[in-house]
Amino acid sequence: MSAVLPAPAAARIDLSGLLVRAALVASGLGLALFLLAPMAAIFVRAVLDNQGNFVGLQHFVAYFATPALARSVWNSVWVSIVVAAITVPAAFLFAYALTRSCMPFKGTLRLIALIPLLAPSLLPAIAFIQWFGNQGAAKWLMGGVSVYGAPGIILSEVFNSFPHALMILIAALVLADGRLYEAADALGTRRLRRFFTITLPGCKYGLLSAFTVVFTYTISDFGAPKVIGGTFNVLAVDVFKQVIGQFNFSIGAVVGLLLLVPSVVAFAVDWVVRRRLTANLGARSVPFIPRPRRAFDTLMLAYCVLVCALLLAVLGMAVYTSLIQLWPYKLNFTLQHYHYALVAGDYAPAFWNSLKMGAWTALIGTVFVFCTAYLLEKTRGLGPLRPALRLLALLSMAVPGLVLGLGYIMFFNHPQNPLNSLYQTMAILAVSTVVHYYTSGHLTAVTALKALDDEYESVSASLKVPFYKTFWRVTVPVCLPAILEIARYYFVVSISTLSCVVFLYAPHTILAAVAIMNMDEAGDIGPAAALGTLVVLASVGVCLLYSLATRLLIARSQAWRL
């Protein structure tokens, strides 16, 4: 050790350090360009007129002065509240049955309850028209009330949002501390009091989170109200009508900003809730294990079977519609709708485009999401950029697809944008979907990376092995299950997504969900149902492939995964 240290210059940066910094900056630029810039374009557009002059809040005033438009704000809000008020208790009971009872067939019931995730949001709307519409099979059940409008939207969105609420509530109910229940039992507490003093407070954040998620999902969904909404106006359809129908981008931007409000509020709520959730369960908690009780278990099983039957009835009606010639006149079995949807019709390329887009999204999205998460979690340097990147990664969740898509047209379709050539390509569809569903993949990657020892990077630096070699030889193989999960998620969401891409497709890049919407509008309900069924089948196929791949992988790597 020397007595006098020379005055140290700033820490020297080697090649690896430079590479890390360059990659981080590239990630940041990517998210800024494809998430922040389009959002900024909407803000700007909302205060400009069609000639590009600044008009202040004039568009907002004009919007609220139009009674038909202003009414859709109220319509959107109350419908979303009703949907949340139905879905959350229903999903809570289902989650309660799965986590706190000893009923049989839990795995199967859970799997069926998650099926709506695989279907485009238009499909249940089509199914509900077949059930309860003007010529519906069970129209008498509606007691004279027309399904077109609020009732149909509510039914469809309950179907669509059920699995989202279910997943959150299962996660909340699983986090129970068995010791609390033992203590309550030791004190002779009755079951009902136990439920209200332990169970419910324990998952209040989960309930809150589920409520906001369902509310935001419903208010920003576009597919179901477009198909079954009739003359009942909601915000999401307004954006579409203003932009596609009347080319009124400014009013479109105003509605888009209105749609952003509930999402941002939900985002803030979720942010707070997530922080509380982690503090809820300490390392010393003992997991709660339910004990069998015959009457309760039977009751729970009956409820879950009923819910699954209803969910399957909706999906089943869509499949049935795709397989018969014409409801209710010609009920003979035919594959002609599939032939039309895949080969003969105007929208024949849609399904293949969707598969292609799903593959691209899965590829680009997984690589980008995982590499960015790795850079954020496991490298050093560029301190100030990191919190900003983390925030962007979470913020994508707060932007409804329709609003993001709107931002994309305003930003990329601008004649002076050098990236103008991206417009109307498959690439922009894939990129927008990657950005739209960024948060979920990011959280999966971060969780997997956090489970790895932080010292791998230090060790390889001491052995003079550059970080990217360790990334490739150690980090990627160890995180492979998480990487596959991200890819599966991206594929499944991107082949059924509608809201984000509805503004961005071109005739040659038309996607399945858009084609379903257009065919439904043209009255081709059979082919629309057929295409929807194909999307569900493709998703199921990918999920099967995924579970097969993970199983093989774990079998192969069992040597070290003990």
Binding site: M1, S2, Y456, L463, K464, W560
Partner: protein, 294 residues
């Protein structure tokens, strides 16, 4: 400084060192052979050369033939030795051990202590080991550096650190110690309570408030006590049994409420008939008392 080069500001990859972490940080998906050879692959060595070097290192750490195993199939101590082999593979000029033993159970820790020490002597690599275990530091090191909140307190051989602590922190931190509040009387004499004690070799102006530090074993209890200075008489308040020896808490009335901890071997306890509540005559060794100003 490493070979005349200041490495404190270099990026890690340009320093010449090997490191072993508390968590071992072995790559879970790579076999023992790939783990140990991880740094060698990058040096463009032939495959056979790497295999020979890995085998040689595994023999060195006492785990020959474990090439094909995965880290999760090894015990904690074995993983630690693989991590050591990996760090040594590139023949670094400096080896850093970051609390390498703290994740192991007490017996394994003591055994590996000796192994690491003899291995280090065999390889002859300068090694820096970070530890919170004072005993570990004293038993393994040639030189001990005591740090407190990032500030260097003392550098010295283990005996220097223990016998001549440079600061109250070091005296307190390494081993057990008695602390007596006192006032200097000048000329190496100090008044604590109602007793005057002498401490050889200390020099402190009269009237200064000081603390006297004394290890529990630095006392005389046997033989001719009349010839000793710093004599006192006290009552044994309690005896803590520690295996091979005992720690007695002695209340000396003249120290006015400052208890003394005193070590006894088990044989001494037997021979002197020590028991709780018994009387004890002892003298503190003037050459071992350390004086620090308040």
């Amino acid at each position: 400084m490493q070979n005349g080069r200041d490495i404190s500001r270099l990026p890690p990859a340009q320093r010449d060192y090997g490191i072993v972490f508390q968590s071992y940080a072995l790559f879970p998906n790579l076999s023992v052979e790939d783990n140990v050879g991880y740094g060698l692959v990058n040096r463009r060595l032939a495959r056979g050369e790497i295999r020979n070097r890995v085998a040689e290192l595994l023999k060195l750490v006492g785990l020959p033939g474990s090439e094909r195993k995965y880290p999760s199939q090894l015990s904690g101590g074995q993983q630690q030795r693989i991590a050591l082999a990996r760090a040594l593979a590139t023949s670094p000029g400096l080896l850093l051990l970051d609390e390498p033993l703290s994740a192991l159970d007490a017996l394994e820790r003591v055994r590996l202590r000796g192994e690491i020490r003899s291995l280090q002597k065999k390889v002859g690599v300068t090694t820096i080991m970070v530890t919170h275990d004072q005993e570990e530091a004293l038993s393994m090191a040639d030189r001990v550096v005591v740090m407190n909140q990032g500030v260097l307190e003392q550098v010295g051989t283990p005996r220097e650190i223990y016998e001549l602590p440079a600061s109250p922190f070091v005296a307190d931190f390494v081993g057990r110690v008695n602390v007596l509040n006192a006032v200097s009387l000048g000329g190496g004499r100090y008044r604590t309570g109602r007793l005057d004690l002498s401490a050889n070799g200390s020099d402190c102006a009269a009237g200064k408030a000081v603390r006297l530090y004394l290890r529990p074993e630095d006392r005389v209890v046997e033989g001719d006590l009349d010839a000793e200075s710093n004599q006192m008489r006290g009552r044994i308040a309690k005896v803590e049994f520690l295996g091979g020896h005992c720690l007695a808490e002695v209340q000396v009335p003249e120290l006015e409420g400052q208890p003394l901890s005193v070590f006894f071997s088990l044989n001494q306890v037997r021979e002197l008939g020590l028991r709780e509540g018994g009387e004890l005559r002892l003298a503190l060794r003037p050459d071992r008392i350390r004086v620090f100003e308040k």
